[in-house]
């Protein structure tokens, strides 16, 4: 106990003795440095004394310094940074887009997913059933009387209220998927209580616009996306 207290007091004394000398050394250092910077040009190293300054002469770079204004140099730097940002943004966008396009369906798949039908071969008042993506598609060339009949129906009284003009692009051509919305049977054309389609599986009756009128089916027959590129061609898909 006494030994340890003696050693600690010795240490403290040492520290107290050392402190003034080191402080003095630092002060002299600073003094020397301050004096040097004051006497020499701004291109000389601040870490040398005046005596040895000739050995540590820093070259004069003023020849290489920009003659332009600081603002124009700043604008140039920002412009380069912005250009890098622009190039990165375009590159990142192109990379992401390439990956996403790669995931979408290719041209041959898209071509197979379409069906083209010549409408000239379908007489008025006749049904045609074609296969599209493994499902039957009904195409009916409706007579004017059938169109009027489809338009006369009070839409609000229907189970799945849908006006006839919302289901067709040209009123004389009714295009819809031949899959009963109840359990997926294929309805029979030109039959049923409403002059449209009749599903034999569970007795759903569809009218001449393919809307559900009677029976268990909850929804109207689905209309695929289609278009008419010219007067007598129909493309489904």
């Amino acid at each position: 106990m006494s030994l340890s207290s003696a050693s600690s007091s010795l240490l403290r004394a040492c520290a107290r003795q050392q402190l003034p000398t080191s402080r003095a050394a630092i002060a002299s250092c600073q003094q020397r440095r301050g004096g040097a910077t004051a006497s020499k040009s701004s291109f000389d190293s601040p870490f040398t004394s005046a005596k040895e300054s000739s050995n540590y002469k820093v070259p004069d770079f003023s020849k290489y310094a920009s003659k332009k204004s600081p603002r124009s140099n700043q604008v140039f730097s920002y412009f380069m940074a912005g250009s890098l940002g622009l190039a990165s943004a375009v590159g990142a966008k192109a990379t992401v887009q390439d990956f996403l396009v790669n995931m979408s369906a290719s041209a041959d798949v898209l071509a197979q997913a379409k069906v083209e039908i010549g409408l000239g071969a379908i007489p008025e008042g006749k049904n045609v059933i074609i296969k599209w993506r493994g499902k039957p598609v009904f195409i009916r060339h409706r007579t004017q009387g059938e169109i009027d009949e489809a338009n006369q129906v009070d839409v609000t009284s229907l189970r799945d209220p849908e006006a006839d003009q919302d289901r067709v692009q040209k009123p004389e051509w009714l295009v819809m998927l031949g899959v009963c919305t109840h359990l997926g049977c294929v309805p029979i054309g030109e039959s049923g209580d409403f002059g449209g389609w009749f599903c034999p599986c569970h007795g759903s009756h569809y009218d001449i616009s393919g809307r559900i009128r009677k029976g268990p089916a909850p929804l109207n027959l689905e209309v695929p996306s289609y278009n008419f590129p010219d007067e007598d061609t129909l493309i489904i898909g």
Partner: protein
């Protein structure tokens, strides 16, 4: 003169970071369109007469003749 342009650019584009960033994205959009159009044009001139759109009319005319 150059100093005036530089300070106008600085005040207009670089001073506010939001403006700087929006400028970058807007010009990236414009640059992409210009770059795509330009490179497609170069590609088409290098491959003139060899692409489907250049030779399509020959074959479509033939098909119509076959149909008739």
């Amino acid at each position: 003169m150059a100093g005036a342009i530089a300070s106008a650019l600085y005040q207009g584009l670089f001073r506010r970071n939001a403006v700087f960033l929006s400028t970058i994205f807007a010009s990236a959009f414009a640059f992409e369109i210009a770059y795509d159009t330009g490179s497609n044009k170069i590609w088409d001139t290098m491959n003139r007469g060899r692409q489907w759109k250049d030779v399509k009319h020959r074959y479509t005319v033939q098909e119509e003749e076959d149909d008739e």
